[in-house]
């Protein structure tokens, strides 16, 4: 099993969700984060003092899938999130050693979907 973590632009969340649903991936966990990367930040000024802000708002999407779905998931995310501009984000994949459905206690492949 794999855990796929994508950091995307906030305004792309809807498109990513749509692509995932089309690819029959319906389960995910989403949260707001801030990130810095190649995209440069901005300056704020408050009462005459200038601040360098380099963390920009991003959305993190986490999806646990069985190995055979990993590629399809990554592809769907890319389809939804890519604009071709700096700041589009990254996808990180890690191995998942176990997955348990709290409601039933089911484990592994059966629990993930």
């Amino acid at each position: 099993m794999k855990k796929i973590e994508a950091i995307i632009q906030p305004e792309k969340l809807d498109a990513v969700k749509e692509e995932l649903f089309k690819a029959d991936i319906h389960k995910m966990t989403v949260g707001p984060v801030k990130g810095c990367g190649q995209q440069k930040g901005y300056t704020e000024s408050y009462r005459g003092t200038i601040f360098q802000v380099n963390l920009l708002p991003k959305i993190k999407v986490e999806i646990a899938v069985n190995d055979e779905f990993a590629q399809a998931t990554v592809d769907a995310i890319i389809r939804g999130a890519r604009t071709g501009e700096i700041g589009d984000g990254k996808i990180f994949v890690t191995d998942l050693s176990e997955c348990i459905r709290i409601r039933t206690g089911e484990k592994g492949k059966k629990a993930i979907g």
Binding site: K34, Y42, T43, E44, S45, Y46, V53
Partner: protein
Amino acid sequence: MEVTFNQLFNSSNVLFLLLGAMYVFSMHAGLAFLEVGSVRKKSQVNALVKILTDWGFTTLVYFIIGYPIAYGISFLVPASELLGDNQGFDLVHFFFLLTFAACIPAIISGGIAERAKYWPQIIAGAIFAGIVYPFFESLVWGQNPLLGQAGSWLTTITGGIPFHYYAGSVVVHSVGGWIALPAVIILGPRLKRYVNGASNAIKVSNIPFLALGSWLLCVGWFGFNVMSAQDIAGISGLVALNSLMAMVGGIIAALIVSGNDVTFIHNGALAGLIAVCSGSDVMHPLGALVVGGVAAVIFVKLFHIETEVLKIDDVLGVWPLHGVAGTWGGIACGIFGSKALGGLGGVSFLAQAVGSVAALVLAFVCGFVVYKVLDVTVGIRLSEHDEIMGPDLSIHKIEAYPEEAL
């Protein structure tokens, strides 16, 4: 100190109009918070700055240009002359009328929110509050007797009855709302508001602030309407009661028509209050209830048509709210003010229709010309990058909740 009757009367009069001015001034805070709550977080600061600084510029242009246009009175004389022998009543009179003029840019602000440049809008606001509005004011209330004055031109075709106004349904709200319509159209919708012809509604940020804005407006409106007597001896309890009933009509109609939608309910109260202004001194309270209820229905339905069918991205719905409900109010005064419907009479449907339509035509045309010229010269819209960042960061270099930025 021995106080004479005249002194007490003048003093009470100054107090009366001052209170009116203070209430309408506080309504500008209401407009600010209504906008703060109705835009996205990244445009809240801009909403606050626009309303307060528009107020500042309006004061200057109305003081120097607008008031002389409307009433032929200039303030460039020594302070002792300004005071006069009525304890400076003329000065609070100016203050009171200013609070009306300043509504024009504040109304427009809500329609063009989240994507307009700052300075071009300040210039447009100054033109409206300094020239267009005072000119129309002069035709209705002021030195050029065309519509509203006893003996004005209009009375020659309505059998002697001029255009009836009490407070500002038409002069303030419909003018503001109908100027905003071309502004919103020329500006175009916010990015991603309509995607491939499909509507993609953008969610508001903060209902409590929106409601706070609505409350400030509702409370202040009793000052707006009642103090429109402009003379304490002309105060009328009927104006207060009619304002109340129209507001209630708006609340309940919006509740029912919208299916318990909090934003429509809080705006429905305003629709009712906008519509009642003109005829608040002549209608029966039950008439006012109906006028307010109809105004709210107009707002709810027309906002949907405007933003979903016509795809005009009027963020706060200022055209249906101030524009159309204001026009409805002007006309409704000619209906519900009649004796047949329990009103005090003395109003003419024809005069109301002519006056109301004249206002909307003037407003739409002037709005169109001013924004078109600004658009092709300096440009009125933020760059795409600035709009995505949000006006708060791109114009004011700060977010509404700075501590949250990391």
